[in-house]
Subunit: 389 residues, 2 copies
């Protein structure tokens, strides 16, 4: 066997997630009988709603085992279109909706279809790490724009203008954002859309945490412009992570091209998942999802002040997702070391800032409230002891 | 709304499949009440075996709704390893097996991980069209090597030596191949593997039609070398197309890197599909799959001589997959026009040669025997009238 490892050059830029090492360590501790409070995981703890599961089972029993069209089941595209009308009062032609294997699948389509090698994609730092790697995998350049509490961790027009040049091709915006949980304002979204479209660039808006907002009513970027690419997912709000299902809403002129890429790179999204997702928009499912949203809100309302009182600096109240992005420099100005110590000494797992970029990464950690209030209370009790020690 | 369509440059190389236009036309005819015999579809007509469906349902009932590790469920990786031992007498460390969303997902991992922009990937023409597009999507170059009956439509060492140069990075081999249904010999596979590995290149072997062979016992390329990348799928032999599940066996040194890409680009394959697939290797499932294999063999043994007697030239007897690659120049030297006429005038849908490359494409069509013997008989009766007219 050859010992030479001969990866492509772009692989050097795709780094492992540091949280994976922490998770592995957490599992080793658990295997030894230690109890770990998991606040590092970006996945809802709830199971998929029963009505969706039942629809999936019914589909399997009914022999829905074959490929669907690459763009997805027509009835699911229609259901999503209806959802935009009902929730946002926005009219979206179902033809503009492509069903994808998760929102990951959406970016697998968009990046090769839109971005040339050497071009630049602008995004916020901190931000979701996979987005950077999707850009690198098509040999394009990530322009990480440092964001802070001034703009509630979101990009604004001024920053985009400052960084935009003739190599710039696209801007990615996430609202609510991971790891900060903040939303972009409609005013800023509109200003950015106007600027980027006028420059002939693309705007990709990640709305995968839509539905998980607290005290605000989020609006889709589709209400602002038909020229944006919106990606969304059944994973977070709808609780369907393991089913791998998401969607893109694309400007009409791009649909055929994206469909062509989909025909090549994934043939179709999971058929049972698509049939199951048809139940996601039923009133009883929506009622259950609203109940869960309230539980997330309760968790945020408990965890945020608890962490602040302990000395974590969280200057912006996150209004969405299920994350708190906290400055921990009062305890340790090496946040990865802080994560390691916290896990080892107190049995609490959180995600280190450096998974989300370079900007302030060493001073920050991300808390995910993807576990029950009882477990969060246990986590807080352990944290209190740990930081007091 | 902007009217400018601003795709990446690479999109110009990703052409639509011509069979899609035929399929759309077939659906229009069906909507008008016409009966169409479908011999264009590259998907088994059988439903997923009951034991697999039952395992999927049980998984859904048991709350298997969350992400799995990116490389897949450890028990599924083990089951596949056991399968290699049992079927091929080849020992494959489960760590070398990565579960992917279909074999499409396997190529989504391999191409960006292995191939630089501007490098060349050698493959046979005719061949499966998506493979060419996976290469183009990472800005690499496809070297289509014309193959014919001399080598039973497979690459051989001589051709590879002739085309290999300092830009060459990989060779793709499919055995059994689509659209020709032929297998590569172990001797040739070994010679190619030795040459390419010695040159520091990669070999990607598509074994997604393994299990569907007739009168021969296929061997995996893993029996020949630990340096090859093998991709396989639960879609074809196991009858799980719509579930979207496949796998890669990678040389050990590549596993961590591929896992890192998987963590970024798809997080994990479908969880219910992975649990369902655990039932794929049970004796009762295997018995059912063997029964189906025999049905495919019966269909081939019926369709091949029937087409030959009509005047289609099929000089190589395909020993695998479910395709017959037939020269139709006796009837029309524009095979796409032949497909259109055949559909319109006789209600039989087949795939045009030009979906599979440039080499002899205008003289060839692909028949898929993915429909019952009764329907094939009906198709043959219609064909006889059509070619006699």
């Amino acid at each position: 066997m050859s010992n030479v490892v001969n990866f492509s050059d772009r692989m050097a830029a795709v780094q492992p997630f540091h949280v994976m090492a922490l998770l592995a360590q957490a599992r080793r501790l658990e295997a030894k009988g230690h109890d770990i409070v998991h606040m590092e995981i970006g996945e809802p703890d709830f199971e998929t709603p029963v009505s969706i599961v039942q629809a999936g089972i019914a589909a399997l029993k009914a022999g829905k085992h074959h490929y669907t069209p690459a763009a997805g089941l027509p009835e699911l595209r229609q259901a999503i279109s209806d959802f935009y009308q009902q929730k946002y009062k926005v009219s979206v032609d179902p033809k503009r909706i492509l069903i994808t294997p998760g929102s990951s699948g959406a970016l697998q389509l968009l990046m090769p279809a839109l971005i040339n090698p050497g071009q630049q994609v602008l995004m916020a730092d901190p931000g979701y790490p996979c987005n950077r790697n999707f850009v690198r995998l098509v040999d394009a350049e990530v322009i990480s724009i440092p964001v802070d509490i001034e703009t509630e961790y979101q990009l604004d027009l001024e920053q985009i203008k400052k960084h935009w040049n003739n190599k710039s091709r696209a801007v990615m915006i996430a609202s609510p954002a991971n790891p900060t949980g903040t939303l972009i304002t409609e005013t800023e979204m509109r200003a950015i859309a106007d600027f980027v479209v006028q420059k002939g660039g693309h705007i990709i808006v990640d709305e995968i945490y839509h539905g998980l907002t607290y005290g605000v009513k989020e609006q889709t970027a589709l209400a602002i412009s038909d020229d944006v690419f919106v990606i969304n997912s059944f994973s977070k709000f709808f609780g369907m992570t393991g089913w791998r299902l998401g969607w893109i809403v694309a400007p009409e002129a791009y649909v055929d091209g994206l469909d062509r890429v989909a025909q090549n790179i994934f043939l179709s999204a999971s058929t049972p998942a698509q049939y199951a997702a048809l139940a996601a928009f039923k009133p009883e499912t929506m009622a259950e999802l609203e109940r869960r949203r309230q539980l997330f809100e309760q968790r945020r309302d408990y965890l945020l002040p608890a962490l602040q009182q302990m000395g974590f600096d969280i200057p912006v109240t996150p209004q969405g997702a299920f994350y708190l992005y906290a400055n921990c420099k009062q305890f340790n100005d090496d946040s990865y070391q802080f994560c390691l110590d916290l896990l080892q000494q107190a049995g609490v797992a959180v995600a280190p800032g450096k998974d989300f970029g370079l900007n302030g990464a060493e001073q920050h950690v991300r808390f995910a409230y993807t576990t029950s209030l009882e477990r969060l209370e246990e986590g807080v009790a352990r944290l209190q002891k740990f930081v007091a020690a």
